[in-house]
């Protein structure tokens, strides 16, 4: 692995809980090479999701350095951060977070639309739609393009969420307990999908989970305990 996708050094994050500060991350350092599939495993409440949010630029660390794809993201403007979130990072959440008013295809297209103003969208529309169809086809959802998320099973919804995360072909895919809400068979399918994108396309994936058997599927496992990471 030549390039580094994520380079984190001494990340700290704490939240105020009433009177006292809750130190969730107490100096986390790790790196992920481009094309690597890394799992972070830890008990619930250990700060896994917080770490993922920091890496996905949904939140800012109190202290520490974070370099994504060679770019120091600590002091970027809101505009640049939005752009990185949109183009370079894809997110898969435990609870899918699909927009209920929109059908499957529209949900998948949202990140692509966010990226382009109305006028240029007209020009890009065709290409982006074709790509969305390809991705959805690969995930076995081509029959359900016009369905609302509420008509889908949990596994199907999560696959839609994966398609949405990948529509802008991000360098980095972040998955937050992607199978946490699914039974084990469905969970396995989702992991298989992730692995397929990893092996076939060399997709860099950072996944957090509390499930050892899922974590075992990754190239490398990091343990998060007491706010610190251990190999």
């Amino acid at each position: 692995m030549s390039k580094t996708a994520i380079e984190a050094k001494g990340l700290q994050k704490s939240y105020r809980m009433g009177e006292e500060d809750l130190h969730v991350l107490r100096g986390v350092s790790f790196s992920v090479a481009a094309g690597e599939f890394v799992a972070i495993i830890g008990a619930s409440g250990s700060g896994k999701s917080t770490l993922l949010h920091l890496v996905g630029l949904l939140d800012r660390p109190d202290k520490g350095e974070l370099v994504l794809d060679g770019v120091d993201v600590r002091n970027l403007s809101a505009r640049r951060r939005n752009r990185i979130r949109c183009e370079d990072v894809g997110f898969v959440f435990q609870f899918y977070h699909l927009l209920p008013e929109m059908n499957i295809l529209e949900n998948v297209l949202i990140p692509a639309q966010v990226d382009s103003p109305a006028i240029s969208w007209a020009g890009r529309r065709k290409t982006v739609r074709r790509r969305a169809m390809e991705v959805l086809d690969g995930l076995g959802l081509i029959e359900r393009l016009k369905h609302k998320p509420s008509k889908l099973s949990g596994g199907e919804r999560q696959r839609v969420a994966i398609a949405r995360a990948l529509i802008n072909e991000p360098k980095l895919l972040l998955a937050d307990e992607p199978t946490g809400n699914l039974d084990s068979q469905m969970g396995r399918q989702i992991i298989d999908v992730l692995k397929r994108f990893h092996t076939n396309r060399g997709q860099t994936i950072l996944m957090v989970t509390h499930d050892q058997s899922l974590a075992d599927q990754a190239d490398r496992i990091l343990h998060l305990r007491d706010g610190k990471l251990k190999e």
Binding site: D59, N82, C86, H97, V114, A118, R164
Partner: protein
């Protein structure tokens, strides 16, 4: 792009958004209706005021009147460029009575006008019954026209009577229905009496012809009155056809008596007197004429269906007791001048309060009845004839109040000059003839109390309803706040995939604008339809529920104004869109400020 997609999707999927749209629509419709009706009202008053009294009125203080008005008008028209035409008028008061309706007596305003001259100054020509569409109406309309109109009116009343009776089939007759039928019947009888009076002139003309024929034949036969026998036989056969009590019978039998006398005495000259008399009656059948306002009680009534039924029409007579408020009026004694008048036409203006109490007489007739005619005094002095005021029409390109004021000043200058030269110009006039001052006023000045009152009311109403419309802003605010809270997670997702804060705020602002736009389009459409049909709606309400807001007799105008101004519509739509956006501002800011992590955690 996602903003547009999302805001349209929210609009369609969120039923609660319809309430916001509905609220905006109602407020918009309300404001549109109020402004349209009030503006229409002001416009109508302005138009009516100009139409009734001309653009400018020159009026002396007091009631004694302007002397030498024709010379003055000539000078005003010659010296003031902008003046197009002018006509003198007399106003007085009197009591109106209608023969056959013993209980009816009514105080009326009497206007003496010169026809057709006055039609060049005011809109008097519009709304005449007999002379509808006649370019230069007079107090002497064509008799055939009067007969045709009255006949049509009788036919119409018969049709209404038939319709009303049919509507009553199989139902016990109510007092109201019986009353209506008897009123309709009365109306028909009165109109028929008027009609026979109109036709009487034909009989007189026919009788005159018989007599002239007879005289001619006697002359041709060298005084042999025996040749008249044939005419006599023909007249007798005519008489047998006629009802003995009718006026026609009276006329023909007068002719027959004259002819019989001539035959008996063998003297054709015996025919001269009746010929002279019939000639006079034929040429001037009704020496005293009147055009009453149609709205006067007892002259007509309104059907519930909106038709106006004439009870007393052309050909009928009325009696007028005129209180001479002119120069002859003494401080201790006021004896009215009584005159029987024949109705030759009737008139409606746009203004109900004028139509229900004004009668129009020929200018010179009222001048006489009002004691404003020329009088002679000892020592060869003359008290010149007078008018109450001079109504003036300006050129159509003089429109603004400022320009009209300028014309007023010019007219007053001419008046002062006229007054200054008066004693030299008319040395024989009674010395006190011209002691009064006079003032020229624009139509607007004369109606300023009324117009400014209604304009103030309009402003007040618009402000009040504008404040009420803040409700729609609050409505949008509340509904949007709810949606933002409900959609917290979705907002988190959008931010997670890179949507910027202004972008997220934009969704809700655009959403608010769309709600304002859709609401105002629905509201203006609804409001427009309401205003255009406001009179039918009112009639319907009256018919079904007996609920009448706009009483025809009480308000100035018979109809509620129903015009909608395009500019007002545009302003209201823009206002509604702004209101929608305004209501969305706070929720949009809240949505934009949301931290994605917290928003995603929100369940």
């Amino acid at each position: 792009m996602y903003k547009l997609v999302l805001c349209l999707r929210y609009l369609r999927r969120r039923a609660i958004a319809y309430f916001a749209v509905l609220g905006v629509a109602l407020c918009v419709a309300m404001i549109l209706i109020v402004t349209s009706v009030m503006t229409g009202f002001v416009n109508k008053i302005e138009r009516a005021a100009r139409g009734l009294f001309g653009d400018i009125v020159l009026e002396p203080y007091g009631q004694s009147g302007l002397p030498r008005y024709d010379d003055l008008i000539e000078e005003i028209v010659a010296k003031v460029d902008s003046v197009e035409a002018a006509s003198p008028r007399i106003y007085s008061y009197g009591v109106l009575r209608i023969p056959g309706q013993a209980d009816f007596r009514m105080l009326v305003q009497i206007a003496g006008i010169r026809l057709p001259e006055a039609t060049g100054v005011t809109d008097f020509a519009h709304g005449l019954f007999v002379q509808e569409g006649v370019a230069e109406p007079t107090f002497d309309p064509l008799r055939e026209l009067m007969i045709r109109r009255v006949s049509d009116e009788i036919e119409a009343i018969n049709a209404i009577g038939t319709r009303e009776r049919n509507g009553l089939d199989n139902v016990e007759l109510s007092d109201a229905a019986l009353d209506l039928l008897s009123r309709l019947n009365n109306a028909r009888l009165y109109l028929e009496a008027g009609l026979s009076n109109l036709k009487l002139a034909d009989e007189k003309a026919a009788a005159l012809e018989y007599l002239l024929d007879a005289q001619n034949e006697v002359e041709l036969a060298d005084g042999d009155t025996g040749v008249l026998a044939d005419n006599l036989v023909e007249l007798d056969s005519r008489l047998r056809e006629l009802d003995r009590s009718s006026d026609q019978y009276e006329v023909i039998s007068r002719a027959r008596r004259a002819m019989g006398l001539a035959i008996a005495l063998g003297d054709a000259a015996r025919l001269n007197d009746p010929i002279d008399q019939f000639e006079a009656e034929t040429i001037e059948p009704w020496p005293h004429r009147v055009i009453p306002g149609l709205g006067i009680d007892a002259l007509s009534f309104n059907m519930k269906t909106g038709e106006r039924v004439r009870v007393v029409g052309p050909g009928s007579k009325i009696t007028l007791y005129v209180f001479p408020v002119g120069r002859g009026m003494s401080l201790t004694d006021l004896s009215p001048n009584v005159q029987r008048l024949t109705i030759v036409d009737d008139c409606t203006t746009d203004v109900a309060s004028i139509d229900n109490k004004t009668v129009y007489l020929p200018f010179e007739e009222l001048q006489r009845l009002n004691d404003m005619g020329e009088q002679s005094y000892e020592g060869g002095l003359v008290g010149p004839a007078r008018c109450s005021q001079i109504q003036i029409k300006v050129r159509p390109d003089v429109t603004s109040e400022v320009e009209l004021q300028k014309v007023c000043d010019d007219i007053e200058t001419v008046w002062r000059e006229f007054k200054g030269n008066y004693a030299d110009r008319y040395p024989n006039d009674y010395p006190h003839a011209l002691l009064m001052t006079a003032e020229a006023q624009t139509w607007r000045e004369r109606q300023i109390d009324l117009i400014s009152m209604i304009e103030t009311q309009r402003t007040l109403m618009v402000v009040m309803f504008g404040i009420i419309s803040l409700v729609s802003v609050v409505l949008v605010f509340v509904i949007f706040y709810m949606i933002v809270v409900q959609k917290t997670r979705d907002i988190g997702v959008l931010k997670a995939v890179g949507a910027s804060s202004p972008g997220v705020a934009g969704i809700f602002l655009a959403y608010g604008a769309v709600i304002g736009l859709v609401g105002s389009i629905i509201g203006t459409t609804g409001g427009y339809c309401f205003v255009r049909n406001i009179n039918s709606i009112q009639d319907w309400l009256d018919d079904r529920l007996g609920f009448r807001v706009w009483t025809r007799d009480r308000f100035m105008f018979a109809e509620i104004p129903n015009e909608v101004d395009l500019l007002t519509v545009l302003i209201i739509i823009v206002g509604a869109v702004i209101a929608g956006v305004l209501g969305a501002v706070v929720p949009a800011i809240r949505a934009a400020r949301m931290q994605p992590v917290e928003a995603l955690r929100y369940e």
